[in-house]
Amino acid sequence: MNKQTVRAALAAITLAGVAGATGAQTIKLAYIEVLSGPLGAVGELGSKNLQFVIDELNARGGVLGGRKFEMLPFDSKGSPQEALAALKSATDQGIPFIVQGNSSAVAGALVDAINKHNERNPAKRVMFLNFAAIDPDLTDEKCSFWHFRFDSHVDMKMHGITNAIKADPKVKKVFLINQDYAFGHQVTRAAKEMLAAKRPDVQVVGEDLHPLGRVKDFAPYVAKIRAAGADTIITANWGQDLTLLVRAAKDSKLDVDWYTYYAGAYGSAAAIGDAGIGRVKNIVEWNPNVVNPKMDAFYVAYKAKWPAPADEFFYYRMKVMMGMLGTALEQAKDTDAQKVASALEGMTWQGDVGEVTMRKNDHQLLQPLYIPTFAKVGSGGVRVSLEGSGYGFGNALVVPAAETALPSSCKMQRPTAP
């Protein structure tokens, strides 16, 4: 190798370094989710949704004078330990924003770890954007300045569901079936409390907690629900735990109404079939049957990119989350977690579906909620076939954002100005 080639090579390396430096201007988000195992499909779908939202923001020019967002996935395998290891490697890489949602147990561990990390590393503080972990504790007793929740929590959703039950005189005997961890326990508690307050005549004929993601055969649970004489099931099961439950109920022709948190996803629609028409409800912040020109266009663009039936756009809240984060970054003029968090708390933001507010005292998003009912495409307000099933959820009851604003016991600890 002669001197000239060495020089040329050195120059190339230097140039590459400069190019690399401008490339490093992306704003990184660590997406710590369950990406494998029985519930892996859930995290996988979320990553497609988030990536699409990010691509759209980037195509519009990014934030802070042209900086682009970049999502880096980390597999938490649904376990708090694995998630903490992922958090460690994300903070080691200097990623300022942590995105997580599925499993409140994981979110709880992340909140604790992020509080500690931020205290010990003031120069490398991170923010936690939570899109689906809805244990109320995360914005009550365990609330943190670094944590922001973009989904309505268990009690807010149960408030909506029990309001619907209040207006539904058919409901007499309710069975509660949920997953055996922090989230499922909260749902069971909230359902019992709110039913007792709003419909004291309704009887809770049974309540069950089953292991998360490990039950393969729900037939025994369905037999129990039938034996209890229930006419209505309330469940916040998600992922495979919902699909298998619904399928077992359909196989044994269980004759009940369903109030669910998540029947709008995870292949449940196909498993519900004709038996669920007019009888299955869920509670969401948006679905493709909500008539809204902006979101209609967005949904068409999304399906053009991800045409496979299973790849639905489920997380409208990710669009809200990224939009609000972008606005907060512009206001803070920096990616420093404390400045961005200060800009984000209390922010009112005009979303495509409606105005939302990130409540300042507990970092809980207040958003309108919809409670639609299962129907065949072309009837019951269903325009779009959900996951290619030929069914969907339409004709929603609307719960205005203000009505979901439940009190919070959070005593927010704010860091002193840097």
């Binding site: 292991p211 039950v215 037939a219 025994p220 037999a223 129990k224 022709k253």
Partner: protein, 311 residues
């Protein structure tokens, strides 16, 4: 009444699926003394192969082809892997099958991804077999019972009424004598291992779409199958049947029982962990009951329900 009958039927169909798996495992153990840790992995392969075959040729061809395919694969594993490891003793064999289980899981990850595949019950079997009081009993669950009962009958006839079955039994108890009479004992071993794997493959075809086909199904099923074999008695086919049905029915019924077995811990307990335990219902404990049964069985009757060996 309705609950009891339906639970019994549900328990029986789940138990028969367990039997399909555990009979292969116990056959291999009884025959070769090999505790095959990769047995449930062959069950998983059966489910994935069935998903693949049924998506192009249909489900019925899969029901016939996949067990053969998995059986051949098993025979290959015995011929080119296990037989070589055999001369280093049982520990080496154990480690070999242990490694094999991990390898199969990784291969499944690479070939089909980390998430569940859409392996569904064929449309013609997606209906109601009969209605008991108000509960519909699905056709597919009936089929699960029929197929495994058919497999059990075939296996019984094969082992007791055919020449090859007699040789297998002879090689099981007196391998040296069988060999000196001119029988090719290593080939009998290969056949047995392949047969055991084929049965696991068949269970995969049936169980994969009744439940879920995903990469952790082998781990989830593997531990429970070991419980069945230990409770039934290692190497005993009748014991495996009894234990499979017992565990199937036990788990099904436990889900329906609201009794709090640790309630006595509750009142006055200062410790919040104890209070937590006291509120546990038997239905929440259903998943650990088989393991509890295994531990109890090992303490009270180490050779299992119908095991031959006292060691």
């Amino acid at each position: 009444m309705e609950f009891a009958l339906i639970s019994l039927l549900n328990g029986a169909s789940y138990g028969m699926l367990l039997f399909m798996l555990s009979s292969g495992l116990t056959l291999i153990f009884g025959m070769m003394g090999v505790l095959n840790f990769a047995h449930a992995s062959f069950y998983m392969l059966g489910a994935y192969f069935a998903f693949q075959v049924s998506s192009s040729l249909g489900w019925w061809p899969a029901l016939l082809m996949v067990p053969l395919l998995v059986g051949l694969l098993g025979a290959g594993v015995e011929r080119f892997g296990l037989r070589r490891v055999h001369r280093f003793g049982h520990v080496a064999e154990l480690l070999f099958t242990f490694g094999l289980a991990f390898m199969i899981e990784e291969i499944v990850h690479l070939a089909w991804g980390r998430n569940a595949v859409d392996y569904a019950v064929p449309a013609e079997l997606d209906g109601t077999l009969f209605t008991l009081f108000n509960t519909a009993f699905p056709v597919y669950r009936g089929l699960m019972i029929v197929v495994s009962a058919g497999m059990m009958a075939t296996l019984y006839l094969l082992l007791t009424r055919t020449r090859i079955g007699l040789i297998i039994q002879a090689a099981l108890t007196h391998p040296e004598m069988a060999e000196s009479l001119g029988h090719n004992v290593p080939r009998v071993f290969m056949l047995t291992f392949g047969m055991g794997c084929a049965m696991a493959g068949l269970a995969g075809v049936i169980g994969g779409n009744a439940f879920v086909t995903e990469p952790s199904m082998a781990a989830a099923m593997g531990s429970i199958v070991f419980v069945v074999v230990v409770v039934g008695g290692l190497g005993s086919m009748g014991g495996a049947l009894a234990a499979s049905l017992l565990i199937g029915v036990l788990q099904t019924f436990a889900v329906g029982i609201e009794w709090r077995p640790l309630a006595a811990l509750g009142p006055g307990a200062a410790d919040s962990v104890l209070q937590q335990l006291a509120t546990l219902k038997l239905s929440q404990m259903a998943p650990i009951l088989p393991y509890l049964l295994m531990v109890a069985m090992l303490i009270v009757r180490p050779r299992g329900l119908m095991g031959q060996r006292e060691d």
